[in-house]
Symmetry: C2
DNA sequence: CTGTTAGCGCTTTCAA
DNA sequence: TTGAAAGCGCTAACAG
């Protein structure tokens, strides 16, 4: 137990007040610059605070004011480049608006997401920024009870009455599919991500819709995968390659999935793009340096975080704002991983 | 302002007590399972709490008990794979020990690191896990005043009396240098990271020491770089390649730096490994898929986080533990990015 | 087994 | 311009 100074006593506002020869309320006012005070006392309090290395307790302050200036940020996996970048964007915006960020990684588990939400609520965060792994509306409302403003990012819960900011999954998949079709591919496969997450669900739906538009010239060779990991990518690719009529082109719902596909192709002696064209939704800073360089749909993950944070800051303000939904544009970067079918 | 239920009132322990027909203290005991209570009241309280969707305020609880069960985690950059993984490891260990994690990304800035530390202290965290960007001992102690237990990871502050866990930077660099020397390289260069961070400093020192051991047959062609970024890697590589006697092999202090080198080589038409051998301290899950696959020193970043967290949990316990320093083993994975000089 | 009382450290009326 | 007093929501003696 070291949470105290050598005299065995945490420095409190009362200590500062005593040393400055004023009352606690005066000390409080001086430190927060509220009310009219003589310059003299103001200085005395400041000196005392400095001398004692006073750190006001946010705990007590928050308890009193019932506002913590803290927001909770819940993601399925911080080590994913997308969430890491979104976090930084959100953090910056929130910091500038005077909020701190409490991060929770729920490791892709709905139960841990609920746990995280509860912890955050217990800490009385002023707002929530969440990329849900797929909690339904009832479950979500059961936990939060609408107690705090919440903005979803890279996910949304329909009818929750909250704002959200997501990528334009439909446009991105269209870009990928159309590119393949234009280059003569007729059998295209999809490496799908988690179906319970908005982006996993939408990308798959978008793929099916895009392919339907090109029927009957082009057909879905197969769809495999239910998670976002590299591992899942390897398995799903094996599965699609083993098909009687395997795809000549593969759309991966994420970079990790694409990387898995590359690994599997290497293992099976399938050459990219000669034997199989590959492209991914999601860019990465190393995509260009891969062998072969990966064609990808790209966007600014940091801005997604910033936008979500702005929405939340607005929602946390006193004026009740209409929940808004933002959809971010994406674009295609063609690199060496896709070509025409043989 | 929505931080209240529809009746305009946050549910408090008193509400639960009232509904259950007991006193607040009894309700508290029932909810926390402390003291001897009749099963009847226990059940009544539980029912009331559930019915009201009661979420105890951690704020009030912490204020009263002066323990928050929360630890602060400060890193220079969450989007770095190393820190992201370390965070997950630490978070898991801490979660199992009953602690929550408050993350702060200081974006490589010493000022923001201090700010983060202050915020964390104001929130009365029970402990600190920090990878410092290079605060000196005085500065650090000025801020924390030894108020809470602290464990440094991937960094350390000499003489701070705190525990630390870092990678064996010396062994890692030795592995890299020796590998190059064995393959006949005589002029080796270094892409250095931030000199104010322990790992940046040590990797450079290790490089100089390792090279000294091979003198006079082998010489340092040059050392460039003062940051960890990919960008810095491109510039530093340009610099070394422009030397009158450029290196035939390059040791990169991090993957990002190595990636920068690859970009620059591609731009200048320098072939890897034919014209220049390249290897990095730090592995990445995509290293094998790069063109060419990157030779790297690898380790388990997650375990670094776990170890640091364990140390901290121990330090936060009542028994004053001796500050310990752990150094993690690393090993070399040889891939295609290095060969013999022409 | 349970209620009463006090108080964690701060802010905020209300008086002076 | 400043102080006294109350209270945020909870827990921990101390009684009963």
């Amino acid at each position: 137990m070291r949470n105290r100074l050598q005299n065995g006593h945490v420095v409190t506002l009362a200590d500062v007040a005593r040393r400055a020869g004023v009352s606690a309320s005066t000390a409080s006012r001086a430190l927060n610059g509220r009310g009219e005070l003589s310059d003299q006392t103001r200085a005395a309090v400041a000196d005392a605070a400095r001398a004692l290395q006073f750190q006001p307790s946010q705990l007590a302050r928050s308890l009193r004011t019932s506002t913590t200036h803290t927001v909770g940020f819940v993601v399925p996996d911080v080590s994913s480049p997308f969430y890491a970048a979104a976090l930084k964007g959100a953090q910056t915006t929130l910091h500038d608006a005077g909020y701190r960020t409490l991060l929770m990684d729920c490791e892709q588990s709905a139960d841990r997401e609920i746990e995280a939400l509860q912890t955050l609520l217990a800490h009385r965060v002023d707002g929530l920024l969440v990329s849900t792994v797929g909690l339904g509306r009832e479950r979500f409302e059961e936990v939060t009870g609408g107690r705090v403003p919440c903005v979803f990012f890279d996910s949304s819960i329909v009818g929750s009455g909250e704002g959200s900011v997501i990528l334009d999954n439909y446009a991105g998949i269209d870009l990928l599919v159309d590119h393949f079709v234009e280059h003569g591919h007729r059998r295209i496969g999809l490496l799908a991500g988690s179906p319970s997450e908005t982006s996993g669900f939408e990308r798959r739906a978008a793929f099916e819709a895009a392919m339907a538009r090109h029927e009957p010239h082009v057909t879905i060779a197969g769809i495999a995968g239910r998670e976002w990991s590299l591992h899942e990518g390897t398995h799903a690719t094996h599965e699609l390659l083993a098909l009687e009529e395997p795809p000549t082109a593969l759309v991966a719902s994420s970079v990790e999935l694409a990387l898995g596909a590359m690994l599997t192709c290497r293992e099976r002696g399938v050459r990219i793009p000669d034997d199989l064209a590959l492209a991914a939704f999601d860019d990465a800073y190393f995509a260009e340096l891969l062998d072969p360089p990966l064609t990808a749909v790209t966007y600014r993950p940091r801005e997604v975080g910033e936008a979500a944070a702005s929405l939340l800051v607005e929602a946390m303000g006193d004026d009740e704002p209409g929940a808004r939904d933002l959809r971010f544009d994406v674009r295609l970067i063609v690199r060496g991983s896709c070509g025409c079918p043989r």
